[in-house]
Structure formats: C-alpha cells, structure tokens
C-alpha cells in the first residue's frame, strides 16, 4: 500500500502544478489574490431552495426579502425599491446620464436582457468593464446597481467594489435588490444585446 500512496502524492503534486498553470493560462482563470466578495459576511449567505426564491419571499416593495435589504443596509448600501427604480428610469436625468443603471451580471445574462441603456459591470472581471463605466460613474448623480434579484449577491459585491475602489461615491450608490426579475415581472422595457442596441421589448409579467 506504500507504493500507491507515494504514487498518489506524485500524482497530486503534478496535478497541482497542472491546475495552477491551466488557471493562469485560461482566459476564464481566477486571480488568486483578489477578493471577489468584498464586504463579505459569510454568516449572511442565504441557503438555496424555494424559501429564497424571489417569488417565495417578496415581502416588501423592493422586490427582495427583508433579510436581503437589511444585509445591504448593514453594509452601508442604499436600497431602491421597485417603484423608485421605475421612477429613476422615467426621470429626465436618466436620458442625460445623470442617473445610470449598472448591470452586475455576466455577459451572457446581460445580452439576454437588461434595463435599457444600463452599463455592464461584471465585477469578477473588472479590467474588462471598469474603463467604460468609470467616466459614467464620475458624471452620474445617482447610480443604481442590480443583478438577477432573489438570492443574487452580485449587485451587492459590485456596488461595494465600486465604492471601495473610489469609482463611485457612497452617497450616489444604490442597490436595486429586486433586480432584473422584478423589473421584468413589472412589465417594464428590457433591452437585449449590447448597451444601446435599440432592441427593446416589454418584460414578461
């Protein structure tokens, strides 16, 4: 049994070398030293399942559970509810980019449908998006960050990342915890493809 164990150790070492090299070379690879979950409070992670789905726990006007709203506030983030998100979208300042929406989801989800004229900021790959959103963040008076809604935490981490990096001042940052699910469920317009593609359709309530 000694030989197989020694062999296992050799395999483990070679596999580890292979794994580190593959991650470093992969275009999807993770940066080992980066904190992808800034402001993390691990105890606050929601358990998956029906009880955490948006449809099951909409308990307030924000389109998210009270626990999510409380967690966001605890982290010093301002929250906008469903009606406030709509009102910001209708505000004339939205057309002038004084109010902007930031979609914190990945490219695939963004292309499938986002709030019209929303910028994309997938905080797992900031180097790809930061250059494009930084001037918009500096100009804007109000920035609304959202993701899927429900138990999605990407908007929270993206907002903290923008705040902590100095890209956006704390006072103008808001999280819309209801996210795209709440937006679509309210029958509001959704843009598919890239930002400003003009392919706009109505969300399915």
């Amino acid at each position: 049994m000694k030989k197989p164990l020694l062999e296992a150790l050799l395999v483990a070492l070679t596999a580890a070398l292979f794994a580190f090299a593959a991650n470093a070379l992969s275009p999807h690879g993770l940066k080992l030293g980066r904190n992808y979950f800034p402001g993390d409070t691990i105890e606050a992670h929601p358990l998956p399942g029906p009880a955490n789905h948006l449809t099951a726990t909409v308990t307030n006007a924000s389109g998210a559970s009270d626990a999510v709203v409380a967690r966001l506030r605890e982290k010093g983030l301002q929250v906008v509810d469903s009606a406030q998100a709509e009102s910001l979208f209708q505000d004339p300042r939205f057309q002038q980019d004084s109010i902007i929406f930031i979609d914190a989801r990945n490219d695939e989800h963004f292309q499938e449908g986002h709030i019209p004229r929303a910028y994309q900021f997938d905080h797992y790959h900031p180097e790809t998006y930061l250059a494009a959103i930084l001037p918009a963040c500096q100009r804007a008076e109000q920035i609304v960050v959202y993701c899927n809604g429900g138990d999605c935490e990407d908007s929270e981490h993206a907002a903290i990342s923008l705040r902590d990096s100095g890209a956006a001042a704390k006072e103008k940052l808001f999280v819309y915890p209801g996210g795209i699910k709440d937006w679509e469920a309210s029958g509001r317009p959704v843009e598919t493809g890239s930002r400003g593609s003009g392919q706009i359709h109505k969300g399915k309530p």
Partner: protein, 183 residues
C-alpha cells in the same frame, strides 16, 4: 482459496478497464463544466462556508476543476491508476460530506424532506436532487476503490509509475499476470 477461472478473470479485467474509462470520462466532463466557468464554481464553493480566506477560496475554485481533469486523463490513459484513484477518493469523500451537510442544513431550515432537496452543489452538473447526487458519488467512490485492487491493467500506458517497466500493460489476462497484480 481457489483461483478464479480465466474467463471470470478476463471478465473482471474488462469490467475494471471499463470502470476506469468511465470514471476518467466522468471526472474530465465534470472538471470541464467547472473550468469553463470558474466564477460560478467559486460562488458555489463559497456557499459551503468551509473556507473564509479569499486566497484559499480562489485557490480551491480555480485549481480543483483542473485537478479533476488531470486525474480523469490519467485514468483514461491508464497512467498511475491507483495514485489517480486515491486522489479522486480524497476529493470525493470530503466534498460528498460537505454536500450532505449543506443538504441537511437546508432540510432543517426549510422543513423539506431530505430527498426533495435540490440545489447546484458545484459538482459540475447544475442543479441536482441531492439524494441522487450522493448515490452517484457513492457509486463513483466504489469504482475508485475498485481501481485500487490493481486489476484491469490492459490498455493502460503505465499502470504504476513506481514499478519497473516489466509491470506495464499486459495485452491479455493470464494466470501469471493476475498473480503479479496481487503481489
């Protein structure tokens, strides 16, 4: 103890080779699912709440999929088979226990029957019924343990790294070769 008839030995060897390939392909597939989207895997690993340090969390999420792929390739090629199998066992046991622990926590929180618990365990197949996943993992564990017996050296490039070349693949199962396996 009487020796097994050659036909039985041959059948066992063929079954072991097939088990090795199956296990290898399963791990390559599951590893690839995670390796192409490490961010999703990172989020899933984080949910288990067993690692808080970002560096450690990132290291696990970024290397584990490639580790699985590597071990899977070793099994398919038949290189260091027992060493690769031990590594798979070392991955399967703790992760199955973590999945079980999380499923029990969800069952306790939501009052849902255990076998109705469904979530993406980060195992590489998306959302699954956890009962099924644990049975599947037990099956994979049995196959990995079976490979430790040293059977099924046919069609392997170098079954054992630490043995002389004379121990390498044998084209057919012979009584003398079988005796050597058990040595």
């Amino acid at each position: 103890m009487t020796a097994s008839p050659p036909r039985v030995r041959l059948a066992l060897d063929i079954a072991t080779v097939l088990a090795r390939w199956f296990l290898g392909i399963v791990f390559i597939y599951m590893g690839m699912q995670k390796a192409v989207d490490p961010v999703t895997f990172l989020k899933l690993v984080r949910q288990y709440e067993f690692v808080k340090n970002p560096l450690l969390l990132n290291t696990i999420a970024s290397t584990l999929p490639w580790f699985e792929i590597f071990c899977g390739l070793m099994l398919v090629a038949g290189v260091a088979v027992r060493g690769a199998a031990i590594n798979l066992i070392a991955m399967l046991v703790p992760f199955s226990l973590l999945v079980l622990r999380r499923a029990l926590a969800i069952a306790a929180t939501q009052g849902t029957p255990f076998c109705a618990i469904k979530f993406d365990c980060g195992c590489g197949g998306g959302e699954v019924v956890i009962c099924h996943k644990l049975i599947e993992n037990s099956g994979l564990l049995i196959l990995a343990c079976w490979l430790l017996t040293g059977r099924g050296r046919q069609l392997s490039a170098r079954f054992s790294l630490l043995k002389p070349a004379s121990d390498a693949p044998t084209p057919v199962s012979t009584p003398s070769a079988t005796a050597e396996y058990r040595g």
